[in-house]
Amino acid sequence: PARWLRRACMPDRLERLATLAANLLDTRIPLTLDDIAERVPGYPPDRASFKRQFERDKATLREIGVPVNVETLDHLGGEVGYRIRPEEYALPPLHLTPDETAALHIAVHAIAIEGDDARAALWKLGGTTQTGIAPVGLIPSFPALATLFDAYRARAAATFTYRGEERILDPYGLVFARGHWYVAGFDHDREAIRSFRVDRIDGEVQIGPPDTVERPADLDVCALVTNNPAQFADGDAIAVDLLVDAPHVDEARRRYPDATVTPHPNGAVVTVPVTSVDAFLGSVLAFLDGVTVLGPDTVRAAIITHLEDCAQGFA
């Protein structure tokens, strides 16, 4: 082709990627590697390098969300072909009114989601020339979140490693509360509804076969997460008694919303259900000398030992 012959330098990879995408979109029949080598300029001539570059290109397209399908071609005796189905590629019409589009733009500027995915989504709606919206919130982001979202949409079970154990969960929803992302759903092993901190999921989430999950109707997913901290860590909770000085009682109520509070001449005795003693003692230490652990004896002894280590070790 004439324009190609006039090129003095290697094509920029953007051209090759875009041309590959255009060809994969245009075809009705999946393209084989030979078809692609023939049709898409910019690949190296030797077969091995071409295959490597093509795999890189395919991965890049998938990374940005382009659905590259691999299909087996019966008429070619089972050889593999590639295509992008236009109906899978295109953004479906959203029918947003101008006010609704503007509202989404404001939301993306007011609530900063870690990374650039929210802003990139806005480009697909034409972007905005609005300025001057001050951010009022910040929400973190994690790779597992997108995979769990896909599992939810496919009505598929999600498998992941959590605190060293493999868990299988039918996802009922993703909740951002108290500064953390949680996934709530039906845990296959425990045979009960559980919530998991998304940032504590180790490694990748695997998605099971689609259409296996039935979500209960009218489920208050937020309540599942915010009202049941006892379900986060497995294991029995022990009741720890704290003596809290008067100025700190309100803060103790905030810190330990599941605690019972009994008045005491010094302030209050706050009894907290605790599943993870180490984490709990860390929060008690934050009160410095405003809070003392009364019991049980094992927990009181643990904090005294730690304080003695500090008194000697820091000196």
Binding site: D12, I64, G126, P135, L138, L145, L288
Partner: protein, 319 residues
């Protein structure tokens, strides 16, 4: 500035090509703003697109880009006549941002944002997938009213740094939610300085009639800005203390060869540092060494409460 990676460049192109096709003659400057791109990078990529198309790559099968007087026209980009669908990452991010803002006090629950989110969730096949609990404290609406009217607030506040309750009059400027807590940025008349207050630590609050003249820049959205002359400490944290990075505003961090993480942070009060050191324990390396002495003294002071705790304290509890 290094050139951006090709994936993001293509992602952006797949968004602006259909938009330009339906808004012919858009200016380069407007496109740069709409699509968050430097004008030079946009021009460079627009120069590459005429080499993109379908076999036999004759002029009628290649994308045509015309730039006249800094305005852009695009033809024959039919392959890309619709924007690429939302990725899962984009879907979650957009739903999260919208749902969060809808939950912030003052948002209209039946307004255009709610409408947009319903349509978006349906198009993504993810109705009721994403929920946000912004945990707005009761005091937040009073603070918002004060900011809007530029009025003063009187409050009793639990000062985490001083482990004590104080009464203050403040001139609130802005609110922000960071990682699960609401903060109000204000000029504090007691401290004669800018302060950041956790809204859920406001115990009592009263909106005063008195209006104030703003002394702080209301556009500054920083949630925590250490003072220039706050002392800095450097800590070497064991790997299991990574939570420190999540919880405290770290200024610098560096991974040491032995797997420890070295962090530098600003210390607003000595109590703040004592609190952190006691949680970490004496195995943490910290510089300057003078702060260790202070932490040891604090540990002693807390231990004293345990030594003083007589059987009478235990007897006062139900067992």
């Amino acid at each position: 500035m290094s050139r951006p990676l090709v994936g993001p460049r293509l992602r952006r192109a797949l968004a602006y090509l259909p938009w330009i096709a339906s808004h012919p003659g858009a200016s380069l400057d407007e496109l740069a703003v709409r699509f968050d791109v430097r004008r030079a990078d946009l021009e460079r990529d627009l120069e590459l697109l005429p080499f993109v198309g379908l076999p036999p790559y004759t002029p009628d099968r290649l994308i045509e880009v015309d730039i006249v007087d800094d305005c852009v026209w695009v033809r024959f980009a039919d392959a890309f006549s619709a924007p690429l669908r939302f990725s899962a990452e984009e879907g979650v991010a957009l739903l999260a941002a919208g749902t969060a803002l809808l939950e912030v006090p003052g948002s209209d629950p039946d307004g255009p944002l709610a409408g947009a989110l319903t349509k978006l969730a349906a198009a993504l096949n993810a109705p009721h997938a994403v929920h946000v609990d912004v945990n707005a404290p009761d005091a937040l609406t009073v603070v918002q009213d004060a900011i809007e009217g530029q009025r003063c607030l009187r409050m009793t506040y639990y000062s985490y740094h001083r482990n004590a309750q104080t009464e203050r009059i403040i001139e609130p400027v802005s609110v922000a939610a960071l990682l699960g807590h609401w903060y109000v940025r204000a000029y504090c008349r007691s401290a004669h300085a800018e302060r950041l207050f956790r809204v859920d630590r406001i115990d009592t609050i009263a909106l005063l009639d008195e209006e104030y003249t703003a002394t702080l820049d209301s556009d500054d959205a920083a949630v925590y800005s250490p003072a220039v002359d706050d002392p800095r400490v450097t800590l070497q944290l064991p790997p299991d203390a990574r939570w420190v990075l999540d919880t405290y505003p770290i200024e610098h961090q560096r991974l040491c060869p032995d797997g420890r993480i070295e962090v530098t942070l600003a210390v607003s009060t000595p109590e703040f540092l004592d609190r952190l050191l006691l949680r970490l324990g004496p195995s943490v390396e910290v510089a300057p060494s003078s702060v260790r002495r202070h932490a040891a003294d604090t540990a002693d002071r807390v231990l004293q409460r345990y030594r003083d705790a007589t059987l009478a304290d235990h007897a006062g509890v139900g067992g």
